[in-house]
Amino acid sequence: MALQVENLTLYYQTLRGDVHALENATFTIADGEIMGLAGESGCGKTTLGHGLILLVPPMKYVTGQVTLDGEPLPIWDTDKMDAFRFSRISIIPQYAMNAMNPIRKIGKMIEELLTAKKVDYQAVLPELKRRLELVKLPPEVLKMYPIELSGGMKQRMVMVISSLLDPSLLIADEITSALDVASQKAVAEMLVEFRDQGCCKSAMVITHDISILYQIADSILIMYAGQLAEKATTTTIIHAPRHPYTQLLISSLPEIGVKYTDRRLSGIPGKPPLLLDPPTGCRFKARCPVAFEKCNEVPPLIEVEPGHFIACWKETERHA
């Protein structure tokens, strides 16, 4: 198991109290697995991704264990995490377009980054050039400033930098969101290529775009309002989802063949709850078409089939 997360709970401290952004998350990512993490904005997916690598205020660690390659990950200790960051666990940030130092040439910036991690730039250079080729960037980009590259090229450049030290877990936060369809496809495929070539052992792809995950992820974890809803293989989530939220979410996606005049899609009525004072029990109950009294208690995440986890009382009853 590359990554094991148990009962991880993360809050945000605010003047008006704690925001319950992530509650009791338990899941694993296997070696070589690309896990997609999907949900609406504010569901806690970015909190989970960032909490694993840079847990700084106002984010607050509450409970839970994280294990990376069998070794406990001290995510609550920012200093101790230094030993893991970039080398063992790395992130391609959401703001990849602006992630690079604008007043350094890209090569120089990478050199400084590696020196900080006590790695020799010259030794890594051949591998760096090979990876640039992998993402179809000419080696000359190392002598350029970030402003000289287009958005898609910057995105690919940051991908190369983030995975340069072969991390065990690469967190990709919304890497395709700001890109055009063609670049989107290229970047997504490059991520798979990186995994296949061992540039990262496993990856966690955070996105709101489920159709991208269908193309590249091995498994998908669906979150809603800080709680895990369902985790299963990609095929199961797309073609046979069991959690009511996943079902509604999947059915609201416009597909390329669908026209308004033929089949009218519908969204999910209502909106996600505020996490400052979250409702008790299942947080989806207010929008859920099958909610009943039991939903006032928090549903446990149960494994209904090998590798298929659901947190819904309807499923718990069915398997009781």
Partner: protein, 317 residues
């Protein structure tokens, strides 16, 4: 009916403005009354530039844009204000469309003061509430709130309601749902489709092909400011002819089939296009021949209401 004829937009670039960047190059198309036309393209294709020219936010370098036969470029003063009574735009980021220090419903007050000062306040309030209900909002929940207290979907509907209060004929919708969540975006899209029934024409600017197909009757595919393919949406989506359209269609992440292994062409050039020679897609085109580099292919009608700018375009076997 909104008509674009040979519209171009050129920017001066380079240290002394010696070079020209052709953001939009000779684009012509028509949007009929009560029709949704999708303007599809990647970033840098000039799709937003066209939207802004229609809204008179930037000037037109050459060519004409006309609404119901009236050229919009010379409009000034009251005539321009009358134009904005008929044509309005909604943009991608609903949060930056509002002034955060005022309440969100101030936008309705401004419409009242500017365009309908003769209507009395009580009557206007009723009209606002009715329009809000039309766009699927509950006035009690959304009025008297600041922008940060409302969700992106609600703010975007506010902007649609504002446009409806003006009784507009033409709406420029520039990537209006790309920042919304999956569970709410489809409702905003359905709302747009319903506005069509009121005889409203919509220019739906997007880079998402599945959304374009869902809502539009006519589609225009742009690349580097030039029209690559245009016509009836069904025809283009059922059988894309231009190699660029085909590449786009193959790149769309779908839920019913996986991407084919064929690699996507990504941009290699690090300089923007400043020279206009030959086909703009030449550098990335898999079927390009030598003459493509020097001759700009004309837009040719291959079947009724389906035009393609590529002499070698054919259906893939």
């Amino acid at each position: 009916m909104l008509k674009l004829e040979n519209v171009s937009k050129t920017y001066k670039v380079g240290t002394f403005g010696g070079k020209e960047l052709h953001a939009v190059n000779g684009v012509s198309f028509t949007v009929q009354d009560g029709e949704v036309a999708a303007l599809i393209g990647e970033s840098g294709s000039g799709k937003s530039t066209i939207g802004k020219m229609i809204l008179r936010l930037i000037s037109i370098t050459s060519g004409t844009i006309s609404l119901n036969g009236v050229d919009i470029a010379p409009l000034r003063g009251t005539a321009l204000k009358e134009y904005y009574r008929k044509v309005q735009g909604i943009f991608q980021d609903p949060f930056s469309s509002y002034n955060p220090i005022f309440k969100a419903d101030r936008i309705f007050q401004i419409v009242h003061d500017e365009f309908y000062p003769q209507v009395d306040a009580g009557e206007w309030q009723q009209k606002v509430e009715k329009t809000l209900r039309d766009v699927g909002l509950n006035p009690e929940h959304v009025l008297n709130k600041y922008p940060h207290q409302l969700s992106g979907g609600q703010l975007q509907r506010f902007l649609i309601a504002r446009a409806l209060l003006l009784d507009i004929e033409f709406l420029v919708a520039d990537e209006i749902i790309s920042m919304l969540d999956a569970s709410t975006r489809i409702d905003v899209l359905n709302l747009l489709a319903e506005l069509k029934k009121r005889g409203l024409s919509i220019l739906f600017i997007t880079h998402d092909l599945s959304l374009a197909n869902y809502i539009s009757e006519r589609a225009v595919i742009l690349y580097h400011g030039c029209v690559m393919e245009m016509g009836i949406t069904e025809k283009i989506f059922a059988a894309p002819l231009h190699p660029y359209t085909q590449m786009l269609m193959a790149s769309v992440p779908r839920l019913d089939q996986k991407w084919e292994a064929a690699t996507t062409s990504v941009e290699q050039e690090t300089q923007p296009l400043t020279e206009l020679r030959g086909c703009v897609y030449y550098g990335r085109c898999p079927i390009a021949v030598k003459s493509c580099a020097s001759e700009q292919p004309p837009l040719v009608e291959v079947s009724p209401d389906h035009l393609v700018a590529c002499p070698y375009a054919r259906r893939p076997d």
